[in-house]
């Protein structure tokens, strides 16, 4: 019996020790499990917040990225003027959560409004807010499409042809619209100080300021510099008080052209004054 009592005591002590260790281990497991689940939920919540933020315009955005890829393993293609939106990094439990998203902010073109016949009348007819891209921007050079309108140094241009936009016209295209090889056609002929570097079309009116007076010309295929007469910037008319100040045979070109200026900005009209 003596031995039995001793064994029971030792057995109880060992069992107690094991139970204590199991309890400690169990506590650790429960604590760790709880921590894992808590951390997971926190990371998921943070991920959701960051994900929404990167899709939100309030996130930081940078323009002018280019996405390149290879088509059919031989042809290179690139899409320009993309915006990259990124999160400010946030972390939980040493897990960094931040997203980035690439977007193309160029609006979808409505092809029904982008028809062009290259006459003065039609160029003006097709001017509308859908195609108006605002101020000319070098960074958007390759994004313009035929029929798009831009302003550059207070003058307005329409892109009349876009084939070879990226190849043959460099570097002219990328300087500014209005250069003779760019394919951009001047719409607003009211700026008397503008040099004659635009590829005018038949029927276009342009003005030249010789210092004393502003002379109006019409661009005709038969005679690119057909003089019309002295232009009055106050009335936006050809001066007719002096019969020698205008060509009565050419005056109709100015009237016809002006009749077609239905979209011309009033402030630009007055700029010549």
């Amino acid at each position: 019996m003596k031995n039995e009592k001793g064994f029971t005591l030792i057995e109880s002590l060992v069992a107690f020790a094991i139970a204590t260790m199991v309890f400690a281990a169990l506590s650790t497991v429960i604590t760790t499990t709880y921590r894992y689940y808590t951390a997971s939920n926190k990371i998921k919540a943070l991920s959701d917040t960051q994900y929404q933020a990167v899709l939100n315009p309030k996130a930081t955005s940078t323009d002018h990225y280019t996405l390149k890829c290879t088509i059919d393993d031989k042809e290179e293609a690139s899409i320009n003027n993309l915006s990259l939106t990124t999160n400010t990094s946030k972390s939980y439990d040493d897990v960094i959560v931040a997203y980035f998203n690439l977007t193309n902010d160029i609006p979808l073109a409505d092809k029904t409004t982008q028809q062009l016949t290259n006459t003065v009348y039609d160029r003006l007819q097709f001017k509308n807010s859908t195609n108006d891209k605002g101020e000319w921007s070098l960074s958007k050079a390759s994004s313009y499409r035929k029929g798009d309108f831009v302003t550059y140094e207070d003058r307005q241009y329409v892109l009349v042809t876009d084939n070879n936009l990226k190849t043959n016209w460099e570097p002219y295209t990328y300087k500014a619209p209005g250069t003779y090889q760019s394919g951009w056609q001047l719409l607003d002929m009211y700026n008397p100080s503008a040099p004659l570097f635009t590829t005018y079309l038949n029927g276009d009116i342009f003005l030249q300021n010789n210092g004393d007076e502003i002379q109006a010309f019409v661009y005709l295929d038969s005679n690119p510099f057909t003089w019309i007469g002295a232009y009055d910037p106050k009335t936006h008319e050809i001066k007719k008080d002096n019969p020698y100040a205008y060509d009565k045979n050419a005056i109709h070109y100015f009237d016809e052209w002006k009749d077609n200026q239905m979209y011309l900005n009033e402030s630009w009209k007055n700029q010549g004054a």
Partner: protein, 149 residues
């Protein structure tokens, strides 16, 4: 009495084993859940890359003019494959995209349906996005943006 010797310790060991197995399972599940949350960040990023590439290419095809080189994205008689995607700024590769790998296809499903599929991988995350583009009539020249999945 002789038979009762060691019964307590045996019971404790059995209980310990059961508890250890249950604890191990619980700990393993919790860790998996944690790792899933962690890896889901990469999966989401891959999904963002795939869907944004789909949208960008779709928009480019939508805006493509018959005279622009963006026509190169539109297949004529076979499915076009897209590979080696890179993001550049000022001629240099963007660091933020260095872990992104993408490839995809542009496929004419029928005369009025075009499908863009992009597979993206970001670190351990993978995702696939599909954009369907449509034409109202077979004779229309413009592909319209459709559903993105």
């Amino acid at each position: 009495m002789k038979n009762n010797r060691g019964s307590t310790i045996t019971a404790v060991i059995v209980i310990t084993l059961v508890v250890m197995i249950l604890s191990g399972t619980m700990l393993s599940m919790a860790y998996s859940y944690y790792m899933h949350s962690y890896k889901e960040i990469y999966t989401r990023q891959a999904s963002l890359c795939a869907s944004s590439a789909c949208e960008i290419i779709g928009k480019t095809i939508h805006n493509a003019d018959s005279q622009t080189d963006y026509q190169q994205f539109i297949p004529k008689d076979h499915t076009k494959t897209l590979s080696n995607f890179t993001l550049t700024k000022d001629g240099k590769n963007a660091d933020i995209y260095k872990d992104v790998q993408m490839n995809g296809t542009v496929e004419i499903v029928d005369a009025k349906t075009l499908k863009i599929t992009i597979n993206a991988t970001y670190k351990t995350g993978q995702a696939t996005s599909t954009l369907t583009m449509l034409k109202d009539k077979e004779t229309d020249s413009q592909w319209q943006m459709g559903k993105l999945k």
